[in-house]
Structures are given as C-alpha cells and as structure tokens.
C-alpha cells in the first residue's frame, strides 16, 4: 500500500506476484492443486491417468455439492451443519421408497425432509435470529433421530438404489464421469445465483454489512429463509448422488464423514466464514484439493492417526497462507 506511492515503477517481483495472486485468488489454489498432483505422480509414478482423474472427479463432486451449501450460507456469515444429516436422510429415504413406489416418487419423498429442515433452519436463523451454528446443529440432531425411528418402521421393505443414481454415481462415459451431467448444471446454477442475481448480491451484502443491507431495504428473514431452503435441497441432491457412488443405501451415517471436510473445502477455497467474501469456483477447487490430499495421504500408507494429523495441519496451513496472500490489499 505505502510502497505503491513511490514514483518508480520498479516494484519488486515478489510484491508483483503477491499482488497478482491477491487479485486472482484462484491462481494460488490451482497452483497448489497442480503441485499436489505432481507430488502424487512422483511418489507413485503412473498413477495419474485417465481412470484416476475420473475417480478423483467422482469423489470430489458430492463433497463439492455439500461445500456449495457451506459456501452459500457462509456468504451471509452463517454455516449449515445439518447438510450431512439431510444428505443421509435423502439417500436412505430414496433407497427405501424406491422399491415400493418407483424412482420419481422416491426422489420427491426424499427431498421432503430436506425441504422441512431447510425451512426450520431458515425460520430459526432468519426470524428468531438464532445463531445458524446452533440452529443447524439442533435440526440435524432432530433429523438424525427421526431417521433412526423411520428405519425401524421400514426395516422389512428393504432398500434399492434406482439405476439412474448408480449410473450417475459410478458410471463413466468416454472417460468422463456421468456425475458431471448433474454437477455442471448445479454448479452453473450456484454460480449464476451468486454472480448474476439480486438474491446473490443480497447474500454478499448481508454478509458484508448486515445493518447497511437492511437499511437499504433487504428483507433479512426472507433472504435467509430462501438461502437455507436452497442449501438444504442442495444437500439432499448431494445425498442422492453420494448413495449412488458409495452404494451403501442402508447406512445411517452415510454422509457424516463429509460434514467437516465440506466446511474445510469452502474455507480452503477462500470463502470467509464471517461472510461477504468468497465464491463457489474457489470451493470447487478446494474440494478437488481435499480429495487429492486424501489420496496422497492414503498412498503414503501412514497409519490412520498420522493421516488425520496431517490432514488437519494442512487445512490450517493452507487457510493461513491463503489468508496472508489474499488479505493484504
């Protein structure tokens, strides 16, 4: 800032690079992603091929969808910790209803709890002004309980995953994962909402300065309600896709391991947890980084404990470095 005032156009290379990166926050992330892939290739030559690429993309997509919920809610300074429960509920209900009623009805039934939890979250956070962290934790607790009770009642019917979701989850056409057929439109929708609609601008505005946004005429509770409903439905869709990929329809903790990584993916992708800054493109790269990182740590054949330690340390390191790079404007 102060050094710019000097009349000489000679700015040191390091400073120029830094300023370029802070203007283009995606660049350091993509560099990190490529670096991770190169390390992977060095450690296990030949692993980086078409099949590996397809697999990485396949496993990144459910994470990126859930992280989409986190990105959207974080823009307003919130967070949605009910996504994993919503995703698991959607997956389990879809799989248990598909046997009796067919896929379309099952999908609609599966998204119903997602809608309800989204509305509850939105009313709690928007109307009653409960901290979103608490609100979504509470609804996820309720949801998990309901799911277990529901499981008791349908234990006899058995579960089945419709072919469509197996095709979407695991299928590959000409080397390209079929899941992209779902993900690209959804991601485009999220980006469109964030960048091109009034609703998206309101999200940034509320996260940046809530008071100013309200004084400018934003209806807080309406925006928040719409946001959490959208976030929850997105999580439901992610659950439907994930069960097609994992193929464990009767698991009641299916998407649970994705909850904290989904927060991490959004944070690593440069979305500020305090709101007002970030975007979905960074989150997608963040999800890819986390997936490659997981592969890397698996290949190193470390014990589970050491792997988790490294995972946590790297998330912290990346976030800290990234903040340093982008913050200094």
């Amino acid at each position: 800032m102060s050094s710019v005032t000097s009349p000489t156009p000679q700015v040191s290379l390091g400073r120029r690079v830094k300023r370029f990166m802070s203007d283009q926050p995606l660049v350091p992330l993509i560099i990190l992603l490529i670096a991770l892939v190169i390390v992977l290739q060095i450690l296990r030559p030949g692993i980086v091929n078409e099949r590996w690429l397809a697999n990485t993309v396949k496993f990144s997509i459910p994470l990126a969808l859930l992280a989409g919920s986190q990105t959207m809610t974080m823009l307003t300074g919130g967070i949605d910790l009910s996504v994993s429960t919503v995703a698991t509920m959607a997956a389990f209900i879809m799989a248990s209803q598909a046997a009796a009623h067919g896929a379309p009805v099952a999908v609609l039934l599966a998204l119903l709890p997602a809608l309800l939890i989204g509305i509850a979250n939105g009313i709690g956070a928007g109307v009653f002004r409960v901290h979103p962290l608490i609100m979504t934790l509470g609804t996820s607790l309720i949801g998990a309980g309901c799911l277990q009770v529901y499981q008791r009642t349908v234990i006899a019917t058995g579960t089945r995953i419709p072919d469509l979701f197996t095709w979407l989850g695991t299928g590959v056409t000409w080397g390209i994962p079929n899941a992209l057929a779902l993900f690209i439109p959804v991601a485009a929708l999220i980006l469109f909402i964030q960048k091109r609609t009034g609703f998206g601008r309101l999200l940034y505005a509320l996260g940046d300065n809530e008071k100013a946004a309200r004084l400018s005429g934003a209806h807080y509770w309406q925006v928040i309600l719409a946001l959490y409903v959208f976030s929850s439905l997105l999580a439901g869709v992610a659950g439907l896709l994930y069960v097609g990929l994992i193929r464990a329809p009767s698991s009641l903790s299916l998407a649970e391991p994705l909850l904290l990584p989904s927060v991490a993916a959004a944070v690593v992708g440069g979305t500020s947890i305090f709101g007002g800054r970030g975007g979905y493109t960074g989150t997608i790269v963040g999800a890819l980084i986390l997936t490659v990182l997981t592969t890397l740590l698996t290949i190193l054949q470390m014990p589970e404990g050491a792997r988790r330690v490294l995972f946590g340390a790297i998330i912290l390191l990346v976030t800290a470095v990234y903040l340093r790079i982008t913050e200094d404007r």
Binding site: I79, A120, G124, F128, R129, V130, H131, L133, I134, M135, L137, G138, T139, S140, L141, I142, A144, G145, C146, Q148, V149, R152, L260, V263, A264, V267, S272, I273, F274, P303, E304, G305, A306, R307, R308, V309, L310, F311, G312, A313, I315, L316, T319, A320, L323, E327
Partner: protein
C-alpha cells in the same frame, strides 16, 4: 444491573426446571433414590467438564470444536500411561495429563492469534489433529486406570455428624466435579484475567482500547478450556477404566448445554453455573425418557427439539428486549 438480574433469573429458572424434572422422575419411578442420583452424577461428569471447557471459550467470544477430540486424546494418554503401572504412578499421570490439556488449549489459542484464521476453522483443524494424535497413542480402546482414581468417583462422601440418609445424596462424583470446577473457576472469575476474558468476549475493540492484551487473554481462555477438557478426558478414563481414541458426542452436547445455560454465542455474557445445571437437566431428561421406556432414538429427537425450542425462546426474548 438489569442484565445481572436477568442472568440470575435465567439460572434460577434452570434450577426450577431441574427440580421439576426431579419431581417428575420420582413420579415416574417412585423408587428413584440416592443410588440413581449417584449414577446420574457419574454419567454427567464428562459432559459437565466438556461444557465447562466450551463455556470459558465461548465467554471469551470464541468457539472450540476440538473439545471432544481433546478429551479423547487426554483419556488415551492417561489410560496408556497407567496401563500396568503402579498405583502411585497415577499421582504423576494426573498432573501430567492436565498439563497436556492446558498446553494443547494454549496452542489452539496461539494458532488463532498468530495465523488470524477464524477460531472455528482453527479448532476444526485441531479437531482432526487431536483425533489423529489420539489414534496414534492408542489404536483401539484399551489401557487401564489406577484403582484409587476409579474409586474416587464411585460411592458417596461420608461426613461425620451428618446422618447417612443425607450424605447418601452427596455422590463423590458430584463433589469431584464441584471441587475441580470451583478450584479453577472461582479464582479465575475474581482475577483480572477473568474480567479480561469477559471483556474481550463483550467487545474486543473496547477491551483493546482499555488496555487489555487481547491476544494473551484469548490464549489464556483457550488454555483454561483445554484444562477443563483434560479433566473431562480424565473423568472418561476414571469412569470407564480404559481410554477410547474415538471422540464421544461431547462437542454437540457441550454447545447445546452452553446455549441452554444462558451463555450467548458471541461472548461476554453468562457464567459457569447455568451450563452445568443445563447438563444435569439434559442428562435427567434422558433418564426420564429411558424410564418411560421410550425408544432411545426418540430421545434424541426430544433433546434436539428442546434445544431448538429453548434457543429460539432465548433469541425471541432477547429480540423483545432490544425493541421496546
């Protein structure tokens, strides 16, 4: 002054709720006696320490997602150190584990201060790190605990001069809990550090301008949280006799009880008494639902609903207060 009265009214409301629940328990199960109360206190012990850890941090304006993992780590450290060791060795293990908790907490605070990454992200990262460390110490549940440690939370306290019918209602676990919390909390609340913790939670900028060292206070708050977390880990080892590397459900429960106990997320308000009473309310509610032979899964629905309803009510009251 009004906020003081309001806070007291919230805590006394909680006490009233606890009494109502006790009466309800006696109605449901007329045989509910001192022995059951003892096991309630024992079951509440790790929850209470987890809540205490969370409370200190939340009052300072932060949040600690790593508390359950820290409890798992300290529990396995204690259990593996006491494994096939002499009884006296445990005298060394206890302060060592408490020191580990204190240092890990301080490290949390230090990372938040130095990296300037939001606390929720830092403690999310340390959640993974501590979980991994716990798995490295002990891969599967195991280890052992010294007999005197295990005995220290079983049974009741006998006080000479007081009839046994009264002392039967004073389980050792409750005494241990109150002594451990009181030894740390009461001096803290009266000290300048305690005041600073409330100050930075209330308004960081105002505290800074009043000459409070915000960074040092934040680190201290997390360190004390870590100390309580280590007590929680020790209490896990004491009550089960082993250490388990997989964290229990203490993170969720601690946040729930903190909010139910009248501590506002965002910091600066509340005390330790409310959250501890809230722990007992939540535990007793679970007991009641079990006594009523209700499906344990329904219990978690009820717990979640109560938690959501309470925080909504609290937020609603706060909103009415702001808009006269």
């Amino acid at each position: 002054m009004t906020s003081f009265i309001r806070r007291q009214s919230w805590v006394s409301g909680l006490f009233a709720l606890l009494v109502v629940l006790f009466i309800l328990t006696r109605i449901i199960q007329p045989g509910y006696g001192s022995g059951d109360f003892g096991s309630l206190a024992r079951a509440a012990l790790p929850y209470a320490f987890a809540v205490a850890a969370q409370t200190v941090v939340v009052i300072a304006g932060g949040i600690d997602l790593s508390v359950a993992s820290l409890m798992a780590l300290t529990s396995v450290i204690a259990a593996s150190m006491m494994n096939s060791a002499s009884e006296e060795y445990a005298l060394f293990v206890v302060p060592f584990v408490l020191a580990v908790g204190f240092l890990v907490g301080a490290l949390n605070g230090l990372l938040i201060v130095v990296t300037r990454v939001p606390d929720i992200v830092v403690t999310l990262a340390t959640l993974f790190i501590l979980q991994g460390a716990a798995l490295m110490v002990l891969e599967a549940p195991g280890g052992a605990a010294a007999e005197w440690l295990k005995a220290s939370i079983v049974g009741t306290v006998a006080i000479p001069g007081i009839p046994e019918s009264v002392t039967a209602w004073i389980p050792k676990a409750l005494v241990v809990l109150l002594v451990c919390l009181g030894l740390v909390w009461i001096p803290l609340k009266r000290s300048a550090l305690g005041l600073s913790i409330y100050a930075i939670g209330s308004s960081e900028l105002a505290a800074f301008r009043s000459g409070v060292s915000v960074a040092r206070t934040r680190i201290a708050a997390y360190a004390i949280g870590g100390l309580f977390g280590a007590m929680g880990g020790l209490s896990l080892t004491m009550s089960t006799g082993i250490g388990a590397p997989i964290p229990g459900p203490y993170l969720l429960a601690s946040v729930a009880a903190v909010v139910l106990g009248g501590v506002t997320l965002g910091g600066g308000k509340g005390g330790l008494v409310g959250p501890i009473v809230a722990v007992f309310i939540l535990r007793l509610m679970r007991t009641d639902l079990t006594l009523l032979a209700i499906d344990p899964n329904v219990t978690s629905i009820v717990e979640g609903t109560v938690m959501v309803a309470v925080v909504m009510l609290g937020a609603f009251l706060a909103m009415r207060e702001r808009r006269p």
